[in-house]
Amino acid sequence: MCGVPSLEADLSDVEPVPPTPAVRLEGVVKRFGDVVAVDRIDLDVREGEFFSMLGPSGSGKTTCLRMIAGFESPTAGRIALGGRYVTGLAPYEREVNTVFQDYALFPHMTVAENVGYGLMVRKVPRADRRRQVADALEMVRLPEFGERRPAQLSGGQRQRVALARALVMRPKVLLLDEPLGALDLKLRQAMQIELKEIQEEVSLTFIYVTHDQEEALTMSDRLAVFNRGRIEQVGSPAEVYERPATGFVAGFVGVSNVLEGEAAAAVAGDPHPFTIRPEKIEMHELDAAVDGDSCSATGHVREVVYLGATTRYIVELDAGASLVVMQQNLATSSMEALQVRGKAVRLIWRRSNNRPVEAPAGALEGSMDQEEAQAS
């Protein structure tokens, strides 16, 4: 008997049964010809959470979303919605709805007909349908727009109609494919807040695909960082930002400050690659005092980017790498900030802010991908 845990003991300290995930991907692979778009992904999305899939273009996030919606079928692996396997089912057999990147509103129908389309297909009686459509339009703050055509709406308004059209179906999971990608910055920020409010109001599971790390950090309860068809890290925004698991994550979520090899050894006394967030670094005169809990590195300011509230400095380290430093413009004016260019400085940060990371090779590429993604 000894050594074998008894059944009773098992029962007494049994963990609570984890609730069925809203969406589960099991070993999902998707190949398009020779290209592996999604490479063995396992993922659970919890009931009622705002979950983001973040990654550069071509990282497999949209393909994942499309497989959940049913527009693509996986080459291998299984997909479950609410505890039911749906891998082979057509989109119209799944209780998920999608908000498309290009909105995909039917141009020959009015806004009300667009929003009511799914209900009409479901054969909901006309009076019911009209009420639900009105409610949905109310929710996205377009109550007076039912009779208009999509062509008569602005981008932001079309976006809301697309959202209403999906929400009115009361799906188990709402899939959003870069829905704010086509909007300008101001509108996008306003819509981010609105989307989050709506999600809390209807308490649905949202899966949100984006290449914008700021968007993912602002809106999500949890997020997955995609790279080359794989998930690099899953966690809350704070976890992913504060404790990036890989160099790629460090670079893609926030600014890539990865030191490795000789530079890492010179600065931190250990060649293992680590990352340090730009806002954790202080910039001082060369003769500033350094205490034992801090790391320090000297270098020259190569580039100064004045951003209004903050200034970004790129410092070429004497140890042979460069670091991005972000400083609040508490008392600095743009003139003063720009004068720092070329100056020799000493960077100081608390050693406890160093985060060891794996796979330093991906880090650089990650940051480049991000620039690309943000430029597009």
């Binding site: 527009f71 119209y92 799914g118 179906m169």
Partner: protein, 298 residues
């Protein structure tokens, strides 16, 4: 000369270009002058002459054209049952050909526009357009050889013991017309189908609609302009043709009446009046299409 230097001729060109930029109407005139002139003189001019001629008539005794306003031609058309039959026959075959082509063109263009990989799509489109490279008469004669009594089809049927011939008939006319105008129906339908964004079909499916429902509610309404454009080709080309009828048919169509009156009878005013019949029918056809909203989504 080094690049970037401005020579005297460049100066002239710059002047001219600036002048045209300031005088936009002039630029437009330079652009559209020739085609607009052609269109007005040749096309509208002839149409007007046709219209005017239709109200003259042929003096029965002298055989000369009387250039005075008269409704005589139209009275003949309205009262002679032969002409009514011919108009109705032409109309019926034109509608049948149009419908046949739409039915044949849809699957072809749907496959090419939405399903086929690039290579197969090109193959389909080339196959559709290829016959247009062969002479029109040659193609009609080909059908004559296939359909005529003693032709290929009869021979094939006899091989399997069936004695049946389409011969020279309205059915032969219908088949030949349907073949001739098919490319003109496929191409606009293909263009319309290709323009429907794939995300609309996905959205419809996402909202619970199966294939047939998506077709009825999303695809079809969006390609109606393409279908109408194609049908206008098939319909109007059938209304005006007389060669196919001569070669594979055994009855007379609107085109034959016009041809006979210009040639054999040299009654040009009557030919003109009869030529207005397809114009009138086309106008009604376009009016109906317009009322059905076919041009709204253009």
């Amino acid at each position: 000369m080094a690049t970037g230097t401005v020579g005297p001729s460049d100066g002239m060109r710059a002047h001219l270009s600036a002048f045209l930029f300031r005088h936009r109407l002039l630029k437009l005139a330079a652009l559209l002058g020739a085609p607009a002139g052609w269109f007005v003189v040749i096309y509208l001019g002839t149409l007007f002459l046709l219209f005017a001629t239709a109200f003259w008539h042929l003096d029965a005794f002298t055989g000369l054209v009387v250039k005075r306003f008269s409704l005589a031609n139209f009275q003949t058309i309205a009262h002679d049952p032969v002409y009514r039959t011919i108009i109705l026959r032409t109309l019926g075959i034109a509608l049948a050909v149009t419908l046949t082509d739409i039915v044949l063109a849809f699957p072809l263009s749907y496959y090419a526009a939405r399903q086929a990989p690039a290579r197969a799509r090109n193959a389909v489109l080339i196959a559709v357009v290829l016959p247009l490279w062969a002479n029109y008469l040659v193609r009609i004669f080909a059908w004559r050889l296939i359909l005529s009594p003693g032709g290929l089809l009869v021979w094939l049927f006899e091989k399997i013991g069936v004695h049946w011939s389409i011969g020279y008939s309205n059915v032969a006319v219908w088949i030949t017309f349907s073949y001739l105008w098919l490319p003109y129906v496929v191409l606009p339908m293909y263009a319309a189908l290709e323009r429907v964004p794939g995300s609309l079909l996905e959205a419809s499916s996402d909202l619970g609609a199966r294939g047939w429902k998506t077709f009825r509610s999303v695809v079809f309404p969006l390609i109606v302009p393409g279908i109408v454009a194609g049908s206008i080709f098939a319909f109007s080309l059938t209304l005006g043709d007389y060669i196919v009828v001569q070669l594979v048919g055994n009855s007379r169509f609107i085109g034959n009446v016009i041809y006979d009156n210009v040639g054999v009878a040299s009654n040009v005013p009557f030919a003109a009046a009869f030529a207005l019949m397809p114009v009138a029918i086309m106008s009604i056809y376009l009016f109906i299409a317009w009322r059905l909203g076919a041009f709204e989504a253009l």
